[in-house]
């Protein structure tokens, strides 16, 4: 039996610590670092959304850039071409756009493909979306959509002015916390556990009367919607939606975060995203060094510690705890 209340409390504690760290960044760091921290916060949830599929549903997606890019472009189009629509509607449309893309392509990809084939199909779809963006004049072709304004939110009683980078940074933190909370709740809900059961043994769960396809599609759509939400939140921050954010290398980002941090733990992608941000920042002076460092780290993780950083820590803790237990057991044995 898992004590869900205790689990909720410990996760809430972890999340609050993380939130506190992100909240003090603008107070202690310069604007460049704050910008980086904002992107890292978005990457944290982007990674979490990917891991919902990977660890949650056992699906390896190499196409998350299409959701991220789809959400970003939806947001950019809304704020540039339909400025009369409220900002929050734009965010919702962004997430909805990702859900729609996921629904269409998931419907096709999940029907037939699994494993490596699924990965390559999602890669192909994502590249399709990327090329379509670069060829569509409405979406700015290769130049992208530039000059996306930061919003003012009208909440009826008062107006929330997010036009400064710092104000928008705090909005990102709040939005990402909400998205992470939603993901956590889903993964620990009956539906989330059902999807995990499908991952572990799809034949048996199908035999028990579950529609494997429908639940996998649900996970895919949810993951796509959250990833698109991340993209939609990012655009007013960077103020540009360019085709690179739909390129397939973006699809590999959440994979890196998750594997580095540890796929088996809910917060693994978060740890990985922060680590990745630090490596990228630390090696920014030399082109190529960041790729070599991240690539080598990832190789080491996959080959030596498949549980990622958090898995490694947990493994070490278990080992020392196990030793302690064994020694006390030995003591009592000797005494009696």
């Amino acid at each position: 039996m898992i004590d869900y209340r205790a689990r909720f409390r410990s996760n809430l504690l972890i999340a609050s610590c993380g939130l506190a760290v992100f909240a003090v960044v603008p107070l202690v760091a310069n604007s460049g670092l704050m910008f980086l921290a904002g992107l890292v916060a978005i990457n944290v949830v982007f990674g979490l959304s990917w891991n919902l599929l990977f660890s949650g549903a056992g699906l390896l997606s190499f196409g998350h850039a299409m959701f991220f890019g789809g959400g970003a472009y939806a947001m950019a189009v809304v704020s540039l071409r339909l400025p009369e629509l409220p900002f929050l509607v734009g965010l919702a449309l962004g997430a909805g756009c990702g859900a729609l893309i996921a629904l269409i392509f998931g419907f096709i990809a999940l029907r037939r493909a699994s494993g490596v084939y699924f990965a390559v199909l999602t890669l192909a779809f994502s590249e399709l979306v990327h090329i379509l963006i670069t060829k569509t004049t409405f979406l700015g072709r290769n130049d992208g959509l530039v000059g996306v304004p930061r919003p003012e939110i009208d909440l009826g009683l008062f107006r929330l002015d997010l036009t400064s980078a710092t104000a928008y940074y705090y909005f990102i933190i709040v939005a990402m916390a909400a998205a992470a909370f939603a993901l956590w709740c889903f993964q620990n809900s009956p539906a989330g556990r059902l999807i995990k059961a499908i991952k572990q043994d799809s034949v048996r769960t199908a035999f028990l009367g579950t529609s494997v396809f429908a639940w996998q599609l649900t996970a895919f759509v949810l993951s796509g919607a959250i990833a698109a939400f991340c993209g939609a939140v990012m655009v007013p921050f960077t103020q540009i939606a360019s085709p690179e954010i739909a390129y397939w290398t973006v699809s590999t980002q959440p994979i890196l975060f998750t594997l580095l941090g540890g796929a088996g733990n809910f917060w693994g992608p978060a740890v990985g995203a922060i680590l990745f941000g630090a490596i990228d920042y630390g090696t920014r002076a030399m082109h190529g060094l960041s790729e070599i460092t991240v690539g080598t780290l990832l190789l080491v993780v996959v080959l030596v510690i498949p549980g990622g950083l958090l898995g490694f820590v947990r493994h070490r803790r278990k080992k020392t705890r196990g030793k302690a237990k064994a020694s006390t057991a030995g003591d009592t044995g000797a005494r009696s």
Partner: protein, 294 residues
Amino acid sequence: MYDIGMTVFNGLAWAMATFLVAAGLTLIFGILHILNFAHGGFFMIGAYVSYSIMMAFGGSLPLWLYLVGAMASGIVVGLLGWAVDKLVFRRLRDVEDAYSLIATYALLLVCGGAVQLIWGLNYMGVMPPPALNTVVFVGDMFMPTFTIFIILSGIVAYIGLEFFISKTSTGRLIRVVAADPWMAQLLGLNVKKIYLITVIFSFAMAGTAGGLLMPNQSLSPELGGIFLLQAFGVVILGGMGSIRGAFYAALLLGLIESFGTYFFPQYPGIFFLLALAVILLLKPEGIMGKGQTA
């Protein structure tokens, strides 16, 4: 008539260039069951090595030196393959498919980073050797000699590989291991060694392909990714590592791509992806079906 001829010619050029890259990829996929993301990276390293060799000789090269350069990059990348097998692939045997795919992606990252460190971020380019830098007229169609050369190289590579796999003793051993590594081991075959030979061979092909295709390409650290997607499509569509399947898949996708681009010139690069998705939906096991290993 002119248009159809040129479109077929362009399709063949796409197909054979892609097949040159996909051949090594499909070999590893068929025998080790690893879809090697890094293949694009090592292809790129081959192109850069060949570029450096060309530059060392002053840029414009006679045909034979261009061919020797391509061979040399094949050897260099083959040696890298030996190291990669020892360090990485050997450890991926018992790892889940998803994880081994990610491991080869990590290798691709390392390749890209290494290329940036050694050769820099700037775009570089070389002309084909003068002997191949001409144009042949067939009727009123003009065909660049270099493109004809690439098409012929693709066909030669295909025939050579088919011969190697089905007629030589090493090729037969590779097929045995592909079919049933456990049984091959029981029969006293050195499975590890055959895996190693396959990996070196596949990497050498990637390097040679890089050297051959390097002229007329703009060399940049993104080069690996561009060919990789096309090659992935060809390998997946061709079935589990079937070289014949990859060859036909390359032809099919190349023709679809070039006819699609002919009718909708504003959307180049999209039709092979669409075709790949549609065909995989109808025939998820690829066009050659199962049991066609190597």
